[in-house]
Each structure stands twice: as structure tokens, then as C-alpha cells.
């Protein structure tokens, strides 16, 4: 099966205001899809709908053929959706290693986790992710003390450790320095192929570094979809962005 994430006619109606309105798209396995759109286009709401934070009023979401529409967050997560938030969301009172260990558990149940040691394969996965994210020097540090960039990488690392099949990234470079943005692009490019990734992003320089296919949202609807070159020259896209100064 090549269709990783199938969103069909997804709509949410907040008492008359449709933040996402009949949105349809198919993300292929291993694809890296960027979602662009002016403020208020419904990008974050779309992520909320897919990941179960907000219940949709119409439409369906399928993950590798399985219907995950409006299931509770942890069930959707167990089906293979991982999500990174705009504001880094890690376990601030736990160490970096403990954060990754929590993410690594192949077993969600309380009673199955009443044991002292992790499974060997989970442990191996933690080590792989440590290498990828270069968090080795800060493994013993409390996550709340990390720099902004490190915290973002830790969160990315947790999603990989979690073995999410489809990863939703909400503005992964927000608030990062140039160097940090560059490193983040590296990590995401390394994840390409082995993970299916959906990124919401504003930073065009960053989008050029990572993007393959782009979906543009406007007023909750799909406006355009295609490769970077096509999107940049699309008159509809230019018009939508007019108020915010066009794509830059």
C-alpha cells in the first residue's frame, strides 16, 4: 500500500465557522509534504483534526487504509501518527534520555510496563536516535534546561523513537537560529524516505531545503498542490498571499 495518509473531505464546523472545509489530499508513503498557507488558513487545525485533538464534523482520515477519524489521541498515536507541536513539547522534568525512553516503549498498557528494563530493540532504537539528533552530550540533562533548538531536536527524536509512520511537524523551525534551522533541515532530510512527513512551515528558505510536494491551504480549503516550481508561479497562490506580501 502506497497511500500513507488519506484525508477525504475533512471539515470542522466551529458554530458556523469552518476552519477546515472539505479538505482532501493523499500523502504517499515516504513522501515529505509541506503545507503552506497564510495565517488562519487552517493548517494547525488540520493537524489537530488528523491527530485527534479536535473532532471533525465531516469527512474521514485513513492511515494506511485504516479509519482513524475522530479516535482518541493515544489510539491515533498507536496507529502510527506522531506529532510535533509548534511550542516544543517535551517532558521538562525528565532527562533527555528518559524522554527518549518514554517515547520508545512498544507497549502502551500500565500492567505491561510494570517491569524495570526496556526491551533490547527499544533500547537500540533509543541509541540510534541519540546518534541522529546528536544529543549525546546532554543525555543526562533535564529537558527543561535544553536550548530551544535542542528541545526541538529532542521532540523530533522522540517521534522517531516512537516509530511514528506518519509524522506531523508544526513549524519545526519557529524561533530557531540559522544554524539550528540548518541542522533541523539536515535531520528532516535524513528522515526522508524512511518516514512519511507532513510539515506546516512559513520559512520559505527552509521549505526549499526540504520540500518535494507542496500543498497550499487558504480559508480552510485546498488551493493548490504540486512541486515547488509550479506552486511559486501559480496565480491563485500569489493572490491568496497578496495580503501577506506573497511567497518570499
Amino acid at each position: 500500500m502506497n497511500e500513507a495518509l488519506t484525508i477525504d473531505g475533512l471539515t470542522v464546523d466551529f458554530g458556523g465557522f469552518k476552519a477546515v472545509d472539505g479538505f482532501t489530499t493523499v500523502v504517499q508513503k515516504g513522501e515529505l509534504r509541506v503545507i503552506l498557507g497564510p495565517n488562519g488558513a487552517g493548517k494547525t487545525t488540520l493537524m489537530d483534526l488528523v491527530s485527534g485533538k479536535t473532532a471533525s464534523t465531516q469527512g474521514t482520515v485513513h492511515l494506511f487504509g485504516e479509519n482513524i477519524t475522530n479516535r482518541p489521541e493515544h489510539i491515533i498515536a498507536r496507529h502510527g501518527i506522531g506529532r510535533k507541536f509548534q511550542i516544543p513539547s517535551v517532558f521538562r522534568d525528565l532527562t533527555v534520555r528518559q524522554n527518549l525512553e518514554v517515547a520508545a516503549s512498544g507497549e502502551p498498557g500500565v500492567f505491561r510496563n510494570l517491569r524495570l528494563h526496556m526491551a533490547a530493540e527499544d533500547r537500540a532504537r533509543v541509541e540510534d536516535v541519540i546518534a541522529l539528533t546528536r544529543l549525546e552530550p546532554v543525555l543526562g540533562t533535564i529537558a527543561g534546561e535544553l536550548s530551544h533548538g535542542q528541545m526541538q531536536w529532542l521532540e523530533l527524536g522522540m517521534l522517531i523513537t516512537q516509530q511514528a509512520k506518519v509524522i506531523l511537524l508544526d513549524e519545526p523551525t519557529a524561533g530557531m537560529t540559522h544554524a539550528e534551522t540548518f541542522r533541523t533541515a539536515e535531520i528532516i532530510n535524513e528522515m526522508k524516505g524512511s518516514h512519511t512527513i507532513l510539515v506546516v512551515e512559513h520559512d520559505m528558505a527552509f521549505v526549499r531545503k526540504i520540500a518535494e510536494r507542496i500543498t497550499v491551504m487558504h480559508m480552510g480549503k485546498l488551493l493548490a498542490e504540486g512541486p515547488m516550481e509550479k506552486i511559486e508561479t501559480d496565480p491563485k497562490v500569489r493572490e491568496a498571499y497578496l495580503g501577506s506580501g506573497g511567497i518570499h
Binding site: S51, P72, E73, H74, A77, R78, G82, R83, F85, S89, V90, F91, R92, D93, L94, T95, R97, Q98, N99, E101, V102, A103, S105, P108, G109, V110, F111, N113, L114, R115, L116, H117, M118, L139, G140, T141, I142, G144, E145, M158, Q162
Partner: protein
């Protein structure tokens, strides 16, 4: 929390810290099990055994407040339930219960509250007195001391956490609940002896051996129970589930997105904590020979939180030692009239200071000192001492 208190990586336990941790456990266990060899005054031993019971309550609080982030201001409910269940059985075993003109035991207060002409039998002497019938078995009463708190806590926490109630609202709900149950308990005078509680109890009897509270054997029952609970609790928080629980405390949303049913973890640990409190209630009745509605006073439940805060809510043994320490000081100080009056004020002040300046309590201070020692030994550049007051 000030930035300083996270300056020492408390959970990234180095080898030295882990050894130190186990050393504290070992020393503590040796002390409580060895105490009778030093103290031969049985009255003091009895007193200490009650403080050890409070230490167990400290563990229960640390588990729910420190590890799960659930502030339960009604832990007295579970302690009280545990105490009453065992007290009911021991009441039926007391000599007076056998002297009420029936061949089966009937508590004396039931006669005082009986309808005129009622048969002197548990079945029908009062409305509801039949509830006492199974408590003629001491083992039933003791089992209920743990089972009833577990059931109540499970039902309560299931509704609270499935609805994603958190923070101060949990504190308010638990606080209200303990008050409600206390009222019901007092109101059900004919079967609970109301305000007066259950007094004049028999002794716990195992295999013909009677555990007189003023005997060293009874002290050992409490001390060994505490040791077992402490080690079990320690194991529990060291498991993967314990780590995941702490993650739900830090960021429940993140934990959900990693695939964990956060409510299930909260319910599990809240219920375990209640079971420990119920067990503490059982032991308290064995050592103190009474059960009273005062166990469900708000003040008592809040005291438990203070003990845990002073000892260190993020540390099971810290909270346990905190409880024992405060109670020992209180008992010593209360002999002086002036201090007796001022004690509540003092302890209130201590609580405020702890919350403001040492949120990890005594255990936190110990960890900080150890971390500083470790840094110095490694020859790291001398850092300025963490000033808690900043």
C-alpha cells in the same frame, strides 16, 4: 519553581547518587527494624509505630502528588476507610462486645442506639447493623481495609481522570469528598458510633497470638509493613510504568501523542496510593486501638501533604522521613504548653517556607548537597552555591 532547583539534574542519577539513594533506604530500614534493640520503653515504641504509620501515609502522598502530579487533599478518606474496616472487626473481638446479653458479639454502642424491643443481634438490632455481620471475621475486616479504599479510589479516579479533570480541581473534589464521607459517618451513629468513633477494641490475633499494641511484636508488624510498602513503592516508581507516569505529570498531551492512555496511568497510581493509605489505616488501628471520624478531618489530610512537602514529595523515602520527623518533633514539643498552642502556626509557616524555597524538601537538599560534592570531586570549576532564595 526557581531556576536553581533544577540546576542539579535530580533524575539523571549518577552512579554515586544511586548508591547514596540505596544507602539511605538501607540505613532507614536498619534503624526502624533495629529501634526496639535500643528503645526498651514500650510506650515510646508504640508512639513510634504510629509515626511509622504516618510515614506510610507520606509514601502514599509522594506517590500521587510527587510522581503523578495529583494533589489529593482527601487522602484521609482512604486512611479512615481502612481504619474503620479493621476497627469494626476488632470491635467485635473486644470483651465488651461479648457481654451484651447475646451469644454472638454485638458492639455496646449499638445497644445504646437500639430501637426499643429490638433483638440483640447484628442482623437487626439497628438499621444497617447487618453490614457488620461479615466483620466477625478479622481477616475480612483487614482485607476490606485495603479493598474498600481501592474500590472507592478506582471509581472516583476513573470518573475524574477520564473527564481529564486536573490540577486544583482534583484537590477540591477530594477535599469535598472526605468531608462528605465524614458527615455521613457521624450521621450514621447507630452503626458507626458517630462522633465517638470505635473505641474499646480487641487486639489483632494471629494464630492465637494477641498483638498487644504495647508489645515489641506489634511494633515489628508496623515496621516490617512499612519496609515492604517502601520497597514495593520504590520498585513501582522505578518501573517503566513509573517513568511513563512521571511523563504524564510533566506533559499529559505529549504523553497522549506518544500513545499512552494518560488516564489509565493516573487511575492506576491514584488507586495504589489509596490502597497504601488504607493499609496505613489498618495498622494505625492495630497500634492505636481506635478509629475516629477525626481521621477524615480536613486538617489531618492537609497535614499529610505538609509532611510530604517537608520531606520531599518527589522522593518516597523523603516524604516518609518527613512524616516521621514532623510527628516526632510535634510530640516532643507538645509537652510544653506554649508550643502546643503555637504548633499549628509553626508548621503552617514551615510549609509556606518549604513550598517557596525548597520545593523538593529535605530529599531535594540532600540531593543538591551530593551533587555539589560530586562536582567538587570531579574537579569541575567551582560553581557558585545555588541560592534557593533567589
Amino acid at each position: 519553581m526557581s531556576i536553581e532547583d533544577t540546576s542539579t539534574p535530580t533524575s539523571s542519577s549518577s552512579r554515586l547518587q544511586r548508591y547514596a539513594d540505596w544507602a539511605v533506604y538501607a540505613v532507614f530500614i536498619v534503624i526502624i527494624l533495629g529501634a526496639p534493640m535500643v528503645i526498651d520503653d514500650v510506650f515510646w515504641l508504640n508512639r513510634i509505630s504510629k509515626y511509622l504509620v504516618f510515614g506510610m501515609l507520606g509514601i502514599a502522598i509522594a506517590l500521587s502528588w510527587g510522581y503523578a502530579g495529583i494533589l489529593n487533599l482527601g487522602q484521609g478518606l482512604f486512611f479512615g476507610l481502612g481504619a474503620y474496616m479493621t476497627a469494626m472487626s476488632l470491635k467485635l473481638m473486644s470483651a465488651t462486645s461479648l457481654q451484651q446479653g447475646s451469644d454472638k458479639p454485638v458492639p455496646d454502642f449499638m445497644l445504646w442506639n437500639a430501637e426499643p424491643g429490638a433483638v440483640t443481634d447484628l442482623c437487626c438490632i439497628n438499621k444497617g447493623s447487618f453490614l457488620w455481620i461479615p466483620f466477625q471475621s478479622q481477616w475480612f475486616g483487614m482485607a476490606m481495609s485495603i479493598v474498600i479504599p481501592l474500590i472507592v479510589a478506582f471509581v472516583l479516579s476513573s470518573s475524574i481522570f477520564r473527564l481529564r479533570v486536573s490540577g486544583v480541581y482534583v484537590a477540591i473534589i477530594t477535599l469535598a469528598l472526605v468531608l462528605l464521607v465524614r458527615l455521613l459517618l457521624i450521621d450514621a451513629q447507630p452503626i458507626t458510633n458517630g462522633f465517638n468513633g470505635l473505641t474499646d477494641l480487641g487486639w489483632l490475633t494471629i494464630g492465637g497470638f494477641e498483638f498487644d499494641p504495647y508489645m515489641v511484636e506489634t511494633y515489628y508488624v508496623v515496621a516490617i509493613s512499612l519496609t515492604v510498602v517502601l520497597l514495593l513503592g520504590r520498585w513501582l516508581v522505578s518501573t517503566r510504568a513509573g517513568l511513563i507516569l512521571q511523563s504524564t505529570r510533566d506533559d499529559p498531551t505529549r504523553a497522549r501523542y506518544l500513545g499512552y492512555d494518560v488516564a489509565a496511568y493516573q487511575i492506576f497510581f491514584f488507586t495504589i496510593s489509596a490502597g497504601i493509605a488504607g493499609f496505613a489505616g489498618l495498622l494505625y488501628v492495630v497500634a492505636a486501638e481506635f478509629a475516629s471520624p477525626s481521621f477524615m478531618d480536613i486538617g489531618f489530610s492537609i497535614s499529610m501533604v505538609v509532611w510530604a512537602a517537608v520531606g520531599g514529595r518527589n522522593s518516597l523515602i523523603g516524604a516518609c522521613i518527613g512524616a516521621i520527623l514532623i510527628n516526632t518533633v510535634e510530640a516532643t514539643v507538645s509537652e510544653t504548653e506554649i508550643f502546643k498552642e503555637a504548633w499549628k502556626l509553626i508548621i503552617g509557616g514551615v510549609f509556606v517556607l518549604v513550598v517557596l524555597y525548597m520545593p523538593n524538601g529535605l530529599a531535594g537538599i540532600a540531593r543538591d548537597l551530593l551533587a555539589r560534592f560530586e562536582r567538587r570531586r570531579k574537579g569541575a570549576p567551582a560553581e557558585t552555591a545555588p541560592k534557593a532564595a533567589e
